[in-house]
């Protein structure tokens, strides 16, 4: 699960001399929220987001329509973009979770993916959410069960997995976190295809020390 496999290759990009009016229309027409600005050889120069396009009325001399038009027509993308040195980027061989951490910590919605300063792709929140969906095997229907088990105790997950294996079922998705409200518990989410809720319940409830907290079609 590396960034290179999940990013959008060949993202839409623009040149620094594009007028801001054109950029605004380009982003609006194609529903682009993040527009990397590149020079020759797709080398990263900056990044334009929807918020870069918010023009500060304070900079206008007056609110006269002609004045606004003149002001806007002179602006290019280079004037309003986040400059290269301030753009947070990631490398194509970074892991998905590293990219996610960077985005969460910096509070940003997009990372241009850069190799030797050349833009090779783009990753956004959307990609990460899609990745989560795929990890939980959303595209195939099945039974989704949430189980609490003691945290920091060896062999608990193995018990769960072998109970499923004993039925001859396959695991479509498996994920786990420390339980949200109880640091002593570990929460595992398992998805199994082609098996009914009742069957899953019957197979997993006898496991000692573990508890089914949620079970549903998903």
């Amino acid at each position: 699960m590396l960034v290179r496999d999940y990013m959008t290759r060949h993202p839409f990009m623009a040149e620094p001399d594009m007028s801001i009016i054109e950029a605004q229309r380009y982003m609006g027409d194609n529903n682009i929220r993040h527009l990397p600005i590149v020079g020759d050889g797709k080398r990263l120069e900056g990044l334009v987001t929807r918020s870069s396009l918010l023009v500060d009325p304070g900079k206008l001399g007056s609110l006269d329509v002609w004045e606004i038009t003149r002001y806007l027509s002179r602006l290019t993308v280079a004037d309003i973009m986040v400059k290269r040195e301030h753009v947070v980027t990631a490398a194509p061989d970074a892991t998905i979770e590293e990219a996610a951490r960077t985005m969460v910590e910096r509070g940003i919605g997009c990372l241009p993916i850069v190799e030797d300063n050349v833009v090779v792709g783009l990753i956004t929140e959307n990609h990460l959410l899609r990745q989560l969906m795929e990890m939980m095997s959303m595209q195939m229907p099945g039974t989704r069960v949430t189980i609490w088990m003691p945290a920091r105790k060896k062999g608990e997950l193995a018990k769960l997995v072998s109970a499923i294996a004993a039925q001859g079922w396959g695991i479509a998705a498996l994920g786990g976190v420390i339980a949200p409200k109880d640091p002593d518990k570990w929460e595992a989410v398992v998805k199994v295809h082609n098996v009914s809720i009742a069957e899953v319940e019957a197979a997993l409830s006898p496991i000692e020390g573990q508890e089914i907290v949620d079970i549903r079609e998903g």
Binding site: H10, N31, V120
Partner: protein, 659 residues
């Protein structure tokens, strides 16, 4: 929610391109619309002069000084390319749009080493250091499956084979990781075996790089192999756009149907089927019909077709057709016009008997190569034809196939005396081309010949430049048969022609042969054409025959491993056909120093089935194994094993015939 994933990489809408000439504007392309999404390959097929390349040039504005986009828009990643400055386009071409053309040598600089010219792309566009760029280039060469990439970097373009040159060009095009790759007949100049490998490569790269590909070709089989959607162009307009399998199984435009009927499908032969050429020819762009552009040649044409120009409309989901009566065409109620219904039986019957008219025994043609040493040194020979024996029966057609450099043409040149044979015996009986034709009835004879070629008397006074490619080839055939020869040698007579013309010329050759009872030796690299046309086929490899037999026997097991590989490389547009995947590595070795033992052993995929990894193949010349009286295979692998091989191509007959 719509994201940039949904916006097509290339969206061409109502594109019209005209060239300005002295008398006004020539509309070369009209009303062309199509979309290519990321990672998708879109094919464009059509005969020459239909505007395929003009569309490609239009996208990157390489139209020349007199070309102009007069209407429509070209949206690349959602931005219109029409009307952009040269500087902006130059940047796009370098960074995000790449092109690969037919002749790799035109894209490569012959005076620069491959490594240098590849690295230049990165050094100039990306400002990389030379050393870094070199590393990237080696990686790229590896990705396009070049053998020994580090060594390749130091070679000049002429030191690698044609297929490898094209790989270099493709690698170079991908160095900047383009979003759109435009390929204009990239494999047309290559051998079938090399073509198959390059097509595999394109399909693979398309997935790795998520590149949108616009693939232009005249060969539907080739397009079918790389792309899933295809647009058919005719006289500058897009006449049909659909998925490849739909177009093949149920063509909805009369022109597409016509195209399908004039290509011999692998397995068809002259005794049970007929090629129906499309009558007439593509109208000149300055003189287009007022109604449907295809109306003058269309078998379905009705009065309204000549008055109203049809729009491109969606007949079925995903199927766009420019025809007023597409629904009817789809139902497929087509009967060949009466004058075209051939007498298959008559055509099939050989004129007379089994008498061998041409008999070649142990023929050899060597060319002396200059010795590398200054003084003395052994004489070296290029063994272009080496110990070949074959016979041709009267009234029959002998086909010879093989990759380029296998000695096909040299063999024919030796037969007609253009090359001096080095050894062997050749007998030709009843040759009678010396009878002088009296001056008096020369005109009459010429006119009769012209008529026979379906050219008409008014062609008598024309100059060659006033003829189309197909017409020139007809005159060539007329000249060849002027002396009523017993034998006609044809070296790739149709390979340079468009498919509709090709069908007409093949039919003409068949008729001529029947009328004159001549024997033919027919060289072609297209295995479907050979299969259709010939009675006996010899498969040639590096100066020798690998397999000789009746046409139908060659295309079914037992095969020589080389025949098997050739067959698995033929591009077939039929989606119901299943084809084995065999790719030969490398190129045909040099005839100057052919491999010992079996000449094919260096590339043979089946050699390992023999004990000791096929050691015998390196040491001994393979024996001729007789499958039947006429069918022989030169291979060390025993016949029983060769018989076990599954057929290379299996076609679901029912589905294919349903169309």
């Amino acid at each position: 929610m719509q994201t940039q994933q949904d916006t097509p990489i290339l969206n061409v809408e109502n594109l019209a391109i005209s060239y300005k000439i002295r008398d006004g504007m020539v509309p070369a392309v009209r009303d062309v619309s199509f979309k290519i999404h990321r990672g998708e390959a879109h094919g464009i097929v059509g005969e020459s002069g239909c505007g395929k390349s003009t569309v490609a040039f239009g996208i990157v504005n390489f139209l020349g000084r007199n070309g102009r986009i007069v209407n429509g828009q070209i949206l690349f990643q959602g931005r219109d390319l029409v009307g952009r400055s040269q500087e902006e386009l130059r940047r796009l071409r370098g960074d995000r749009i790449a092109m690969v053309y037919q002749d790799p040598m035109q894209a490569l600089n012959p005076t620069m080493r491959i490594g240098d010219q590849m690295a230049e792309v990165l050094v100039i566009h990306r400002g990389m250091s030379k050393a870094e760029a070199d590393d990237r280039c080696v990686q790229m060469l590896e990705q396009v499956h070049m053998p020994d990439p580090a060594n390749m970097m130091r070679r000049f373009p002429h030191q690698v084979s044609g297929g490898q040159q094209q790989r270099v060009v493709i690698g170079m095009a991908l160095l900047n990781d383009p979003a759109l790759l435009i390929m204009d007949e990239p494999t047309t100049a290559l051998d079938v075996t090399v073509e198959a490998a390059v097509l595999d490569l394109i399909a693979e790269l398309q997935h790795t790089y998520d590149t949108a590909i616009m693939y232009i070709s005249h060969n539907l089989g080739v397009v079918a192999r790389v792309s899933d959607k295809v647009g058919v162009m005719y006289a500058g307009a897009l006449v049909e756009r659909a998925r490849v399998s739909d177009i093949y199984l149920h063509p909805a435009h009369p022109y597409t149907q016509g195209l399908m009927r004039c290509v011999p499908k692998l397995g068809m032969n002259k005794t049970d089927s007929y090629l129906y050429p499309i009558r007439g020819r593509v109208p000149a762009p300055t003189n287009l019909p007022a109604g449907c552009v295809y109306e003058p040649r269309c078998d379905y044409a009705r009065p309204e077709c000549s008055q109203k120009r049809p729009e491109l409309r969606e007949v079925l989901p995903g199927r766009w057709v420019r025809c007023h009566f597409a629904e009817e065409v789809l139902e497929g109620k087509w009967e060949p016009p009466e004058e075209l219904v051939p007498d298959l039986e008559k055509l099939a019957k050989p004129a007379d008997g089994d008498e061998a008219i041409l008999q070649i025994e142990h023929a050899k043609t060597y060319y002396e190569a200059p010795s590398k040493k200054m003084i003395g040194g052994e004489r070296q020979y290029v063994k272009a034809v080496d110990d070949v024996s074959i016979a041709a029966q009267r009234g029959m057609t002998l086909g010879i196939v093989g990759e380029s450099g296998c000695g096909k043409s040299t063999l024919v040149k030796t037969i007609i005396g253009l090359e001096k044979p080095t050894g062997g015996e050749m007998e030709f009986m009843g040759l009678d081309i010396t009878v002088p034709v009296s001056k008096r009835n020369l005109n009459l004879i010429m006119i009769r010949l012209l008529n026979m070629m379906r050219l008409g008397e008014n062609y008598y006074d024309r100059l060659p430049r006033q003829l189309s490619g197909g017409e020139k080839q007809r005159v060539g055939i007329a000249r060849a048969i002027a002396g009523n020869p017993e034998m006609i040698l044809c070296d790739e007579p149709v390979s340079a022609l468009d498919v509709s013309v090709q069908a007409a010329v093949l039919n003409l050759l068949l008729e001529t042969q029947h009328k004159l009872g001549s024997t033919m030796v027919f060289i072609a690299h297209d295995l479907s054409v050979i299969r259709f046309f010939c009675d006996t086929i010899g498969v040639m490899y590096l100066g020798q025959f690998a397999e000789i037999g009746p046409a139908e026997a060659i295309y079914a097991p037992p095969y020589h491993p080389y025949t098997e590989a050739l067959l698995s490389a033929v591009p077939i547009p039929n989606p119901t056909a299943e084809q084995k995947h065999i790719r030969l590595s490398g190129a045909v070795p040099s005839a100057l120093n052919p491999p010992s033992g079996c000449r094919f052993h260096t590339r043979c995929p089946r050699r390992t089935t023999l004990p000791d990894g096929g050691k015998i193949c390196e040491e001994e010349t393979p024996p001729w194994r007789e499958v039947s009286a006429e069918h022989r295979i030169a291979c060390h692998i025993p016949l029983e094993e060769l018989r076990q091989i599954d057929p290379v191509i299996t076609i679901d007959q029912e589905e294919s015939h349903a169309r």
